[in-house]
């Protein structure tokens, strides 16, 4: 398969993740959709890495995975803290900073 097909899949996955981040209101699902966006980026990185026959893109994909793991760690910690304080798990309701 030519590289263009992989790039198309990566664009579709990234877009679906972006739609989820905009439209969903459960912060857990928003984190999952962020994972989708990062994975779309990863697929593009690895496709370009294959295109040039160069490993740099794969290293960058590994770093992106690390960053995603950190983001999951902190995000889930925040969700657990919100749950502990008996606040609603809903990004429309958590508007204290908005005033």
């Amino acid at each position: 398969m030519s590289i263009a097909w992989y790039l198309a899949v990566s664009a579709i996955v990234f877009t679906l993740g972006a739609i989820g981040v905009i439209a969903r209101r459960n912060p857990l699902v928003i984190l999952l959709c962020l994972e989708l966006m990062l994975n779309g980026a990863n697929l593009a990185l690895i496709a370009f890495s294959r295109l040039w026959g160069n490993g740099d893109g794969q290293i960058l994909a590994l770093v992106v995975m690390t960053v995603a793991a950190c983001e999951v760690c902190i995000g889930l910690g925040m969700i657990v803290a919100i749950h502990r304080r008996r606040l609603p798990i809903d990004v429309d309701e958590l508007r204290e900073l908005q005033g």
Binding site: I3, G17, I22, G53, V67, C70, R84, R86, P88
Partner: protein
């Protein structure tokens, strides 16, 4: 053969992504994401990124998703019920524009996808239409663990160390965020539990638990609070701000 694998895995990845976005129950969203990640790992294998595919399956679909499943089991069901009840209530009372939000999200997403496709496929790079650089299988060739390890420990040593330090910071941050502590948390718990006339359970992270046994004999919040406001609905709802 590779075309069949590509279309199968690509369709699986896109279907998994759609499932993550559309399914109502967060638990099913997590399962859809696991399927998506496995399909993506197949795509990585087709792109000769063997080590990254293995890491994707082991770390992502294994460890990170287990973390998600735990948190969904701890939090998710309640959040979902809350969302469902509140959505219908909102639509009935003053027509909250959640459907408008969805349409806006879909329109924005469509625009983003067109832009991305133009940016990636319309570059005029000849190589994009091809199959990539030459590849000869071997123990140290492109994408094998030996190749990635050599790159990580020579050219990308700084990035490797910074990534490990970032992981350390995230671990410490998660512990700080999720530990039980006193202060506002105990006050909020007392406030939220007051309508039921219950003292907070001992393991719910009260202030007495946070500061140690010295203050454990002090009176509980729930006893000192006034009677609950009339008409306040049950559940973890916050009082409206003045």
């Amino acid at each position: 053969m590779s075309a069949v694998l590509f279309f199968g895995a690509g369709a699986g990845a896109i279907a998994g992504a759609i499932g993550v976005v559309l399914l109502r129950d967060p638990f099913y969203s997590v399962l859809a994401l696991v399927g998506h990640l496995v399909c993506l790992a197949v795509l990585f294998l087709l792109l000769r990124a063997e080590f990254v595919a293995a890491v994707q399956v082991v770390v992502y679909a294994g460890a990170v998703m287990v973390l998600y499943v735990f948190v969904v089991a701890y939090v998710g069901g309640e959040g979902d019920r809350f969302e469902l009840g509140q959505l219908s209530e909102r639509v009935r009372s003053h027509g909250f524009p959640s459907s408008r939000m969805r349409i806006g999200g879909a329109v924005l997403g469509g625009a983003l996808m067109i832009e991305l496709l133009i940016a990636m496929l319309g570059t005029g790079l000849h190589g994009i239409g091809g199959h990539g650089a030459g590849y000869s299988p071997g123990p140290r060739t492109f994408g094998t663990p030996a190749y990635i390890g050599k790159l990580l420990l020579t050219r990308f040593l700084v990035a490797f160390e910074v990534a490990s330090f970032l992981l350390l910071i995230a671990a410490v941050g998660a512990v700080v965020l999720a530990r039980r502590r006193g202060g506002l948390e105990g006050e909020e718990a007392g406030e939220a539990l007051a309508p039921l006339g219950l003292a907070p359970p001992r393991e719910a992270g009260t202030m007495a638990e946070g500061v140690g046994p010295a203050l454990a004999a002090a009176p509980r919040h729930a006893e000192a609070l006034p009677a609950p406001a009339a008409g306040a609905p049950g559940g973890p709802r916050r009082k409206p701000l003045p």
